[in-house]
Symmetry: D2
Subunit: 346 residues, 4 copies
């Protein structure tokens, strides 16, 4: 059994890690930490776990993390960077679900996240944990920068088009919508049911942190510097991200079937990425609670624009599920172990 620790398990991402790892056949959760709740049963905060575990929150500094084979950081940015070196030195693998090690360019990180990086020497080593694009590096990694929720959907939706260079690189538009769990479990008026229910809006329309992360990776795919138009919106649902991606085709004569083939070929061996048949449209509910991504392909009536819809569960493939996929890869387990739950539908 692989012994793991989870730092920051009072948030939704941490809770989702617990939910999934409690049923993972090769993992034992050794500790969950949360400064504010030390000593409390985890089932107090997450009553879905009542009767299923005796785990209690412990302190970050309890010495338990060092005894783990791997530690997940489900913390705000700025925490993992402070603990990473010590844990790595003790042979603990780290899967960081925060943004600390996602951005390779130190200046970009500091501009967008507003803090100084305390472990810049680890940036080069950290592997961006999107298995569909960095699988072999992940297998050998000690430190994983688990992708953001939006970046996962946007990258998987744009990747085949950009890699095959069938689309212009400007403008690239990502109109994305996320369920409210993506905003976290903090007590904010803006995320109350009475403020967000029966409503819809964009937010951060003039700039969101995930943009720089997506641009970094898309630039790799496209082998040129990419600038993205990225507008997130807040959906009155709990889980789910949908990204509608607009890319102008270089050649409007390319057929839908050809585009479909490029996507199919790229993802044929990717168990968690499903390209829907032409004529179908992705829905967030089809992947709710699961680690799957669904991608559907569309064309504007004038044939000039490729429109891609990509959906995921922001807490699973967009966070905890992907982190476990990375764990499986690092420890040589089947990549899908503990991750084959089917979406709840309805």
């Amino acid at each position: 059994m692989i012994k793991v620790g989870i730092v920051g398990a009072t948030g939704y991402t941490g809770a989702e890690l617990v939910r999934l790892l409690l049923r993972h056949p090769e993992v034992e959760i050794r500790c969950v930490t949360a400064r504010s709740e030390v000593g409390k049963e985890i089932a107090e905060l997450f009553p879905n776990l009542r009767g299923q575990t005796d785990l209690r929150f412990s302190e970050l500094e309890s010495g338990e993390l060092e005894k783990c084979d791997a530690v997940f950081f489900a913390t705000p940015h700025g925490v993992c960077m402070q603990k990473a070196k010590d844990l790595l030195d003790k042979g603990v693998k780290i899967i960081d679900l925060s943004a600390d090690f996602r951005i390779k360019n130190l200046q970009d990180f500091q501009n967008w996240y507003g803090i100084e990086h305390s472990a810049p020497e680890l940036l080069a080593e950290a592997v961006y944990g999107l298995p569909e694009t960095h699988r072999e590096e992940i297998k050998k990694a000690r430190l994983i920068a688990n992708p953001g929720c939006y970046p996962t959907a946007v990258q998987l939706g744009m990747l085949p088009a950009l890699q095959n260079a069938i689309v212009e690189t400007f403008p690239l538009i990502a109109d994305v919508k996320s369920g409210i769990s993506g905003a976290g479990r903090g007590a904010k008026v803006a995320n109350l049911f009475a403020e967000t229910g029966e409503s819809f809006k964009a937010y951060a329309a003039s700039g969101h942190r995930h943009q720089v992360e997506i641009e970094q990776e898309l630039s790799n795919f496209a082998r040129e510097k990419i600038t993205l138009n990225f507008v997130p919106h807040l959906l009155p649902i709990i889980r789910g991200i949908e990204a509608t991606l607009y890319m102008v085709l270089k050649n409007k004569e390319i057929s839908d079937a050809e585009i479909f083939s490029l996507y199919e070929d790229r993802y044929r061996n990717e168990e968690f990425v499903i390209v829907l048949p032409l004529g179908k449209t992705a829905e967030t509910r089809s992947v709710r609670g699961s680690n799957f991504v669904h991608i559907s392909l569309h064309r504007s009536p004038d044939k000039r624009t490729l429109i891609v819809s990509a959906v995921e569960d922001n807490l699973v493939k967009g966070a905890a599920g992907q982190a476990i996929q990375n764990l499986n890869l690092i420890f040589g387990l089947p990549e899908n172990m503990g991750l084959m739950q089917l979406a709840l539908l309805p």
Copy 2:
């Protein structure tokens, strides 16, 4: 008192007309027709009206419509075109909330709506009922083609940018999201709560009927043939449309304040169009149940793209409210009469 009839009052648009007109100080609803419900009290279908009216559904052919000063058609397309000539001949004004008279190009209409037009001779006379762009013609009209819900939001959001020619005309992207009432009151599996709740998806991503209507009007604003990229999505809310509009700026040096001024100037005298201060973001709930449109302005981080978010209540400004605005204009009443309800919030 202006005597009006409502054809097709079993749908949501018809019900909304009744809700608003029952409280309009200068209007008396004389009849509501609905083939399937003849003789039934309207409060049976719409219990919010219980105790507030004795209206019962009558037959289309009852002869009552001819006695009205104005008739609203809240019917599927294909109905109004059959009745229009007779009513007009009897001096009845018509406000058609269906698509029958929106598209000036007969061929376009027939391509997108799949039926032959039975009153093509009225197409030239029909006035497109968006008061913000056709007010003077509306005042003199006998036959109004009330705009579609999506077209209202998209046009009002793009109008100042296109009229002032600050943006390129390709690509123009409208990523729009609508509450489920827009899909009507028909008994369809796809619109069940259990199919649409806690979910989100695009639909008609490769072509939606409202596209041709928007392109027709935008082409007028821009004084050139416009092709739009228009993708509607289904929101798990009852009322509300949000349109996120992406337009590439011709000159990225234009300041946000300059753009704001263009929008402000254009809508200064439009009571129902509110341009939010820079830094604010439009939300559908801010206009729920009201005839207002809110517009917020944003820029991509690279300054090259103007991003506009426009919101409306699809049943009010997107349908029934706008129809009453047209009625007020035709009959010389204050344009806002009966339409000043504030949005329910929360």
Copy 3:
């Protein structure tokens, strides 16, 4: 014009007062106070008011309240009791939407609300502001204790049965469900969308403060000491209360029609209380955004139990609407002035 002030306009009840009073033909809002937001435009917090008012939040102590004809307190309990005497002395009428003056028994108040009452000498004078049961006193009152949201629905649903003594007084069961706006606009994890959406639960099942208020009033109707079984639940909707009331009939031979007549007779002259025809069931949406209460009557299959369902909008008839109904009564205006909005449906 009646000049009014609103204390505590940052909450949902205060916002609803503003929404309704801005359209009241005989009222002018002179000031809205809110400690935490002094100087800020009210439209900043409530964007549905954007462009509709220039009101800004002022301080409680600004001296403006004293110049009003009437002041509404939409504050937590404990505030109004401190300001009441001064304002009354200056001739200002007070409509208190908090609990400060609802409970006539000082000990009960202190037990359930956990604070000492600072103005017990005003308790006897304060009139319980349910117009359907205290109309004549309200007309003459200086100080109104506006009823709680739950108490309004429960009392109106039980009143005719208890007054006519057709039911036993034990057990009396009120299983009530409220939309989340009833929990207020405070930043609490428990009221986040992600915590309350797609879920349902009871709360305060072993004792809720509204119980003592309901028991006090029901005891008056029944002319004996009533003990109620009252369990509130949290609905994943924004607005709306439904109360399902179970009362054992003294005589199971009484017909449904007889019971219906008792309810009809009691409410015949009550514009805002609609008794639905037998066979119909009350729905919260039928009264959303309106001041109406709908009541439907049912029987258990064994005929021994009367089941009543009463619905209201908790922010309108359950709070702000009722407060305005009281204002109208005090100032001799038509009782329904400014309150005839029809519910949004759908």
Copy 4:
């Protein structure tokens, strides 16, 4: 591997059986039947299954069912009774999720369900499939009448109180609320999102079919004829049932701890029934997507009434999960096999 068939897999209960059985380690789904969809891939209707199975809908009469070890009927009532004898004769076990074999009294069945029973000779043999009360019979059964969704929650919530005779048997009140998936996947206006969202109502308040089923079983527990007051309500959520149960205590001196012990003792060995610690309240989300039932215990302030809140996922413990629990028992598998998913939270 146990080979199973599912009759009526186009509904939500059938789809949930497929979702759960595709991941059951000892079951192979051999066929799914649906008259209206013959030949179509099941993933067309339930896109969460895309890429996870090649199952296509076949005809009821295809001869495949007879080759199964067990067949689930997820059909409207009236179907299973027609096929049961033939299948049983061929050695196939039947788990019927419809009402056909739940009611032992033929007259009661015919009164409430409005059809004549075509296989009354099987009624005596059929075992009521609530494992917590009929486990030993289930293990030996050929024909299981899987309980209704409401009856499961109400029985488990009332059982310890009635078996231990600590409560009066009149009145017994069950105020129950169900998510909309309980209304099925039929195309009905009443179940549209726009009709049920942001709303709440009772339905069938004067008599619901599940009442007779609950009374039959409760009478067994209590060893006397029980009459129940049972009012279902429609919640604007997809999955989840909450039952608030009111029972008058015979002796108000009984302590909360004593009552808790009775519940704890009764369910100590029931893996799927969790009695929450005193002070906690059951929430439907805590069991969403899982086979667990959570029960919380409360007291009215006057101590005279025991209030129990019981929650379940209506499609899992209330239908498909319980059916699989029965399958496991019949075939000697661990009772929890394939059923240990934790609820999605948030």
